[in-house]
């Protein structure tokens, strides 16, 4: 694989391609940003996932096997969901399943009749009421609560710093540059309300029964998200990550009224402060492409499904876009057909620049792909995309 024993010229080239992509110049070729989860990396390396969560050497072994064997310009691995801090908090919204995967069960932390309280003072309501419901270990006297929080924070720091160190080491060793996610994880205000407070089911009921409250709650959430998105000291080149969740499941009218306005304000606010972001459009956002096109150019877009030609012609005109490639097709199609599919995507999206190659979503399970075929696709993109 070309990934190994990387020389300075390669690193320089990758950096240049990345910068050109971000700054809207036509790069020498399409930038490759592959993404594998810790689950997938462990599956590939034959490492026990449940153990790797707690052992940075195992994490490194799993991550390194991916960096070594799959072509990517950007570091293709990373992890932010560590079970240890969630376990200390007794978190009910992030739990480790029997196979070691950290999953998100639906919970309701805010009741329907608590909207007004949240709207009046969202921060206090979260800290005093909703967090202890999500994390029962915090539901105790103040002294013990601060102990639990301290322990959880220390644990989070240990694993996040450990993971960062592993990633830094691998990036240096394999000449990998950062992808388009380098900053904070932020949610659209509507998604925060849905995912963290009301749950998927309840928010859809609220949209019919108390839509005004939903709107007011999104507005009350916006400053909290902005505060997290724009830290006092901005790292140069900070690109926050916003995984977008609920929009594809609601009607256009509801999107326009309840989902979009506070998301747009959030992205505008970041842009003004000099912070970029990558928005991951889960499911199919084709019907919202015109909205995405209105965002400041600092917003990078990543898509799961949808009509890539239509999206290229709208949101992709001024914005850097990527995604769309479904790696699971490698299980059912021949190597040539898989490469053809990558070529089809590149032919539509790469001309004129503003395109990077990425999977439609991070690979969660290595068994959901055919490894040699996927390697061939990534390799193909890295040498055949001089537009």
């Amino acid at each position: 694989m070309r990934g190994m024993g990387v020389d300075m010229a390669t690193l320089k080239e990758r950096t240049q391609i990345r910068t050109d992509s971000i700054e809207g110049r036509i790069p020498k070729r399409v930038f490759v940003f592959a993404r594998f989860s810790l689950e997938a990396a462990c599956g590939y390396a034959g490492v026990d996932l449940a153990k790797a969560h707690y052992d940075m050497e195992l994490t490194e072994k799993a991550f390194e096997s991916i960096c070594k064997d799959f072509y990517s310009d950007a570091l293709p691995v990373g992890n932010i969901r560590f079970p240890a801090p969630y376990q200390i908090l007794g978190a009910r919204n992030w739990v480790m399943g029997s196979n070691g995967a950290v999953q998100h069960p639906e919970i309701v932390t805010m009741e329907a009749d608590e909207y007004d309280e949240y709207i009046a003072n969202p921060y206090d309501a979260i800290v005093e009421k909703f967090l202890p419901r999500a994390c029962p270990e915090l539901d105790t006297d103040p002294a013990n609560r601060s102990l639990v929080l301290g322990k959880a924070y220390r644990s989070f720091k240990k694993y996040s710093e450990g993971t960062r160190a592993v990633c830094g080491k691998l990036a240096a060793k394999y000449g990998l540059v950062p992808g388009f996610i380098t900053g904070e994880l932020i949610e659209a205000p509507f998604d925060f309300l849905a995912d963290q407070l009301r749950g998927f089911k309840e928010i859809n009921i609220d949209l019919r029964r108390r839509a005004d409250k939903v709107k007011a709650a999104c507005e009350a959430t916006l400053p909290l998200m902005l505060k997290r998105a724009v830290p006092p000291v901005i790292r140069p080149g900070q690109i926050n990550y916003i995984p977008l969740h609920l929009a594809p499941y609601i009607k256009m009218g509801d999107f326009e009224k309840y989902f979009w306005p506070t998301l747009e304000e959030l992205v505008n606010g970041m842009d003004k402060a000099g912070v970029a972001c990558t928005l991951f459009a889960e499911e199919d956002w084709t019907r919202y492409a015109e909205y995405l096109a209105r965002l400041p150019k600092s917003a990078i877009l990543m898509f799961e499904n949808g009509d890539c030609a239509k999206i290229k012609a709208t949101a992709g005109k001024d914005h850097l876009i990527g995604g769309f490639f479904d790696p699971t097709i490698t299980l059912t199609r021949s190597k040539e057909e898989c490469i053809d599919e990558a070529k089809r995507l590149v032919d539509i999206c790469a001309p004129g620049g503003n395109f990077y190659f990425a999977f439609d979503k991070g690979i969660m399970d290595i068994k959901s792909v055919d490894v040699p075929k996927l390697q061939a696709v990534l390799e193909w993109v890295s040498v055949n995309t001089n537009y």
Partner: protein
């Protein structure tokens, strides 16, 4: 006499205000049991309209979720007029979301619709291992076992559940229906189920034909 067509349409339009108003007026008129059954059926047929609008791209998943809630509320309003339970006489369904899967919105819609159609439903909840299905079948002696799952991995859990029923000699005594986003004709055969559907209204009809 209730205007069943209007009720059906209001449910299909997800117009909660209008549905509640119509049902309250109907209940106040002191209807007989047959009439109540007709209105229950109308609510259920309203769900077919919802399914059609979903298929045509007018409704989205969020609307399906609200539709499930609306139907459950309708049934709850009408239940007292039917001696505490809607039907319950057509047979028993043991229902659950299979192991490893915590999605239950589709399962709950199927439950409401089966209850509306007169089935007694024993709902095991989410993430249920094969042993839980086996225990429930032994205890409740249902005619039908319903498994729900939307994850790719749910197919394997369903297969293991059918195998567990087989091992205990229980498979022959029940019909197995599966539903949820992950199922297909192919997976139905692989699992060894009797029927599959991604449309609860259709599944309820199939179940009706079995008892």
């Amino acid at each position: 006499m209730a205007d069943v067509l209007a009720i059906k349409q209001a449910v299909g339009d997800l117009d909660e205000g209008s549905v509640t108003e119509k049902l309250n007026a109907f209940i106040a008129s002191g209807p007989g049991e047959d009439e109540v059954q007709a209105v229950v059926a109308a609510c259920q047929q309203g769900m077919e309209i919802v399914g059609e609008k979903f298929g045509e791209g007018e409704y989205f998943v969020g609307d399906l979720i609200f539709a499930g809630e609306l139907l459950t509320d309708c049934i709850d309003m009408l239940k007292p007029l039917l001696g505490g339970e809607v039907g319950g006489s057509r047979g028993t369904i043991v229902l659950g979301t299979v192991e490893g899967d915590i999605h239950d919105i589709g399962k709950n819609i199927f439950r409401s619709m089966s209850e509306a159609a007169g089935f007694h439903v024993v709902d095991l909840g989410i993430d249920q291992p094969p042993s839980a299905f086996v225990a429930a079948v032994e205890e409740h002696k249902p005619q039908i076992v319903g498994m729900s799952g939307v994850l790719t991995l749910s197919i394997d859990s369903m297969k293991r559940t059918v195998e567990a029923l087989q091992e205990k000699g229980l498979r022959g005594g029940v019909k197995v229906a599966i539903g949820g986003n992950a199922v297909s004709q192919e997976s139905c055969q692989y699992i060894g189920a009797d029927a599959w559907s991604k449309n609860a209204a259709e599944s309820v009809k199939t179940c009706g034909g079995w008892v």
